[in-house]
C-alpha cells in the first residue's frame, strides 16, 4: 500500500515536472522589440547592458566604463529619442564581471536573460572573449570599450565590435613613431607577460624590426613585480637608445625610477596602460620626458571631449579615468544603428552597427568588416613638468584614411 502510494507520487511528480518543463521553458528568444507591437503612442523601453569589473583590483576602470554608459543613457533620455516613430526610454543594466573569465560568462548570460538590446563591455579581453560567444548565440551586439586583444574580433562572430584601437594597431603606430620621429636605432623591449602588454610589445617589435631597428633585448616581467633591476641592468649593457614597455603604470612607475638609479639614459615609451596620472605619481621626478601613446585624440581635441569631461565631473564628482568616453560612444553607436534600422530589435539593427559612421567623443567611429575600429587616431603624449602633454597625433594606415574622412565630412554635412 505504502509502496504504491509512493509510486503514484513519483509518477505524478515526474509528470508534473515534464509538463512543467514543457510549459516553463522560455520561448525561443523573444526580442526586445516585442513591446513594439503595442499601440503606437506607448513608450518603449530599451535596455542597454554594461558589463565591466565593478569590484576587485580593476574596479576603478570598470566603474569608469559604467559611468560612461550611464551618462549616455541619461543624455539620450533627456534629449528624447524616437525609433521607428515611437518614443524610447533607455535603461542601463550594469553587471559586475569581476574581471574574471568564468564570471564574465555568467554575467553575459544574465544580460541575455534580461533581454538587453545591446551590450557595452567587457573591460578585459579575457572576459570579452568568452562572453562574446554568449552574446553571439543570443544575437546581441556587443561593443567592447577597451579590449585590445586582436583575437576578440577574429572569432567570426557578427556581434563583436570594439571602439578602441587593438594591439595590432597601437603597437605598429608606436613602432613607426619610434623609428621615424625618435630616430631609434637600437631598441630594448620589456613586456609584463599579460595579454595586453605582450600583444602591444609584439606588435611594436614586428614594426620596429621591419623598419630596420635593432632589437637589442627582449625582456619580460610580470604585472605584480616591482623589482626590474636585473633586466634593466642587462639592457644597460646593450646600450639601447630607446626602451619600450608593454604594460601598465604600477610597473612602469618603479621601472623608470630604477632606470634612473641605474644610470640608463635611454628614452622610454609605452602604451595607453601607463598613460595615467598614477604613473607620474609612482615615478616621481623620473617620469619627466617619458612617452606613452593613447588611442583617440587628446581629450581637449576630441570633438565633444571637453564638454564630456566637464559633464562627467559634474555628474560623478570624479575625473574621467580612461574608458568612460568609449563607453559613452558605444551607446551612441548602438542608438544610431537603432535609429537607422527603425527598430530596437537586435536582429534588425545589428547589420546597421557595422555601417556606423559616428562622430563620437573619441573621434570618428567606423568599423571594418571584423568589427574593429577603422584607423582610429592615436596620440603620443610626453611627461612635461609633471603632467602628460600631447606630443602629436598619428593616424595609422595612411592609404585607407582618405575614405573615412570623406564619409565623415558627409556625416558632418548631414548634421
Amino acid at each position: 500500500m505504502k509502496r504504491r502510494h509512493l509510486l503514484s507520487v513519483v509518477a505524478a511528480l515526474a509528470l508534473a515536472v515534464i509538463y512543467g518543463c514543457g510549459k516553463e521553458a522560455p520561448p525561443p528568444a523573444p526580442k526586445a522589440a516585442a513591446p513594439a507591437a503595442a499601440p503606437a503612442p506607448e513608450m518603449i523601453t530599451v535596455k542597454i547592458g554594461s558589463a565591466s569589473p565593478l569590484t576587485g583590483p580593476q574596479a576603478h576602470i570598470g566603474i569608469d566604463i559604467r559611468n560612461g554608459v550611464q551618462l549616455a543613457v541619461e543624455d539620450l533620455n533627456a534629449a528624447g529619442v524616437e525609433i521607428g516613430g515611437k518614443k524610447v526610454k533607455f535603461e542601463m543594466v550594469a553587471e559586475d564581471d569581476e574581471a574574471n573569465p568564468t564570471k564574465a560568462t555568467t554575467v553575459a548570460q544574465k544580460l541575455a536573460d534580461a533581454k538587453v538590446a545591446a551590450v557595452v563591455g567587457h573591460f578585459n579581453s579575457g572576459a570579452s572573449i568568452p562572453a562574446s560567444k554568449i552574446y553571439a548565440d543570443a544575437g546581441i551586439p556587443q561593443i567592447s570599450p577597451s579590449s585590445t586583444n586582436p583575437k576578440y574580433t577574429q572569432q567570426g562572430f557578427k556581434t563583436t565590435f570594439r571602439v578602441v584601437a587593438h594591439d595590432d594597431q597601437q603597437g605598429p603606430t608606436l613602432g613607426k613613431f619610434a623609428i621615424e620621429k625618435l630616430k631609434a636605432k637600437s631598441i630594448a623591449i620589456i613586456d609584463d607577460s599579460t595579454a595586453y602588454g605582450q600583444g602591444l610589445a609584439d606588435a611594436f617589435e614586428a614594426t620596429a624590426r621591419a623598419a630596420g631597428a635593432k632589437i637589442v633585448a627582449r625582456e619580460h616581467t610580470t604585472d605584480k613585480d616591482t623589482d626590474f633591476s636585473a633586466i634593466l641592468t642587462k639592457i644597460k649593457g646593450r646600450k639601447p637608445d630607446l626602451i619600450m614597455f608593454g604594460g601598465i603604470d604600477p610597473q612602469a612607475g618603479p621601472m623608470v625610477k630604477q632606470m634612473v638609479s641605474l644610470g640608463i639614459k635611454a628614452k622610454f615609451i609605452g602604451g595607453d596602460g601607463m598613460q595615467t596620472p598614477n604613473f607620474i605619481k609612482l615615478a616621481g621626478d623620473a617620469a619627466e620626458g617619458m612617452m606613452a601613446s593613447m588611442p583617440g585624440l587628446p581629450k581637449d581635441q576630441m570633438p565633444g571631449g571637453k564638454a564630456f569631461v566637464e559633464k562627467y565631473k559634474a555628474k560623478f564628482n570624479a575625473e574621467v579615468e580612461l574608458f568612460a568616453p568609449m563607453g559613452y560612444d558605444a551607446v551612441m553607436v548602438f542608438v544610431e544603428a537603432m535609429k537607422r534600422a527603425a527598430s530596437a530589435d537586435p536582429a534588425k539593427f545589428l547589420p546597421e552597427v557595422g555601417n556606423t559612421n559616428h562622430q563620437g567623443v573619441i573621434g570618428p567611429i567606423a568599423f571594418d568588416d571584423k568589427g574593429d575600429l577603422k584607423n582610429g587616431p592615436i596620440t603620443i603624449y610626453v611627461v612635461k613638468g609633471g603632467k602628460w602633454e600631447a606630443l602629436e597625433t598619428v593616424t595609422p594606415g595612411a592609404p585607407e584614411s582618405a575614405e573615412p574622412k570623406a564619409a565623415e565630412k558627409s556625416d558632418a554635412a548631414k548634421k
Binding site: 619580460h220 616581467t221 605584480k224 633591476s229 636585473a230 604600477p250 618603479p254 598614477n278
Partner: protein
C-alpha cells in the same frame, strides 16, 4: 664586467630584503614549527602604514629623517600588535591540534589581512612620497644608491643583533630552550606562552622593518605586495635551513643573487629559449630542489622527520 658587478649589487640588495623577511619566518618556525603564512602580509601592513604616515606628515615641515622615524615606529607598533594578537587568537588554541589546522588558519589570516588592507587602503598602487633624494655612488662602473647600501647594512646589522640577542640574553636562552623542547622548557620554569608571544613580537617588528625598507626602495605599496615577497622569503629561509638565523640571511642573499643573475643571463645562456619571463620559477625550483636534495637547508643541522 661592470654589468656583472651591477647584477651582483642588484642581487645583494634584493637578497637583503628577502633576508629581512626570511628572519621572521625562520624565528617563528624555529620555535613553533609553524609556517606563518601571514608573515608576508605583516610586511605589507608595515609598508602601507609607513606609506600612510609619511604621506600625512610629508607637508608638515618636519625633517625627512624624523618623518621616516615616526613612520617606522608606527609601522612597527601596528605590526607587533597584529602579530601578537594573531598568535593569541589563531595559533595558540591550535597548538595541540593536527598540523593541518594551524596551517589552514594561517592561510585564513593571510586572506583576512590582505582584504582588510584592501578595504582600508583600496586596491590602487600607492606612491610613497620621495622624501630623501638618494645619492648615487659608482664602483668600477657599477652604480648603487645610498639607500641600497643602507638596506644591505641594515640587514647585516639586524641579523648580527638577533644572533647576539638569542645567544646571550636571558630571553634568548629561553627561546632556544623552548625551541628544543617546549614541555621541558616549561618544567624548567620558562613561561613558554610568553616566549612564543615574544617571538611573534620580534618577528613582526622585523617584518615591519622590512616593510619600511620595501616601501622606501620601490616607492610604492599595494595590498597584495606581501604575498610574493613572503613566498620568496620563505624560500630563502628554507634554502638557508629553516629555524636557523644566519641561514635565513645566507638564503636570502643567495636567492637574491640567483634571481638577479638568472634573469640577467639565462636568455643568453639558453640562446633565447628561456628568458627573464621565467624569473619567478627560479625561486620555486630552488625551493623544490633544496627540499628534495637537502631538506635541512644549507646551514641547518637538525634532520627533522618533518622534511
Amino acid at each position: 664586467m661592470d654589468i656583472f658587478l651591477q647584477q651582483l649589487i642588484n642581487g645583494l640588495v634584493l637578497g637583503s630584503i628577502y633576508a629581512l623577511v626570511a628572519l621572521g619566518y625562520t624565528m617563528v618556525y624555529g620555535i613553533l614549527g609553524l609556517i606563518n603564512f601571514a608573515h608576508g602580509d605583516i610586511v605589507m601592513v608595515g609598508a602601507l602604514v609607513t606609506l600612510t604616515v609619511t604621506q600625512a606628515l610629508a607637508g608638515s615641515g618636519l625633517p625627512a629623517p624624523v618623518i621616516l622615524l615616526i613612520a617606522a615606529c608606527a609601522a612597527i607598533a601596528v605590526c607587533i600588535l597584529l602579530g601578537i594578537s594573531m598568535e593569541r587568537v589563531a595559533y595558540r588554541p591550535l597548538r595541540r591540534a593536527p598540523r593541518l589546522a594551524p596551517l589552514i588558519t594561517a592561510i585564513g589570516i593571510s586572506m583576512l589581512l590582505q582584504y582588510s588592507a584592501a578595504l582600508i587602503w583600496g586596491k590602487q598602487y600607492m606612491p610613497m612620497p620621495e622624501l630623501i633624494k638618494t645619492d648615487h655612488y659608482a664602483v668600477a662602473g657599477a652604480q648603487f644608491t645610498g639607500l641600497q647600501a643602507f638596506i644591505f647594512l641594515l640587514a647585516c646589522a639586524v641579523m648580527a643583533g638577533l644572533l647576539w640577542f638569542i645567544k646571550t640574553s636571558r630571553i634568548g636562552q629561553a627561546m632556544r630552550a623552548t625551541e628544543q623542547n617546549p614541555d621541558v622548557a616549561g618544567l624548567m620554569g620558562i613561561d613558554t606562552n610568553r616566549i612564543i608571544s615574544f617571538t611573534f613580537l620580534l618577528g613582526s617588528a622585523l617584518g615591519a622593518l622590512a616593510g619600511v625598507m620595501v616601501v622606501l626602495y620601490y616607492g610604492l605599496g599595494h595590498y597584495f605586495m606581501g604575498f610574493m615577497l613572503g613566498m620568496k622569503a620563505f624560500t630563502a629561509a628554507v634554502l638557508g635551513g629553516i629555524g636557523n638565523v644566519p641561514g635565513a640571511m645566507l638564503g636570502g642573499m643567495l636567492l637574491g643573487l640567483i634571481e638577479s643573475l638568472a634573469s640577467g643571463y639565462i636568455g643568453d645562456l639558453t640562446g633565447g629559449v628561456l628568458g627573464s619571463n621565467y624569473r619567478d620559477i627560479f625561486a620555486f625550483l630552488v625551493l623544490i630542489l633544496v627540499l628534495v636534495l637537502r631538506p635541512s637547508g644549507l646551514m641547518g643541522q637538525r634532520v627533522s622527520d618533518r622534511a
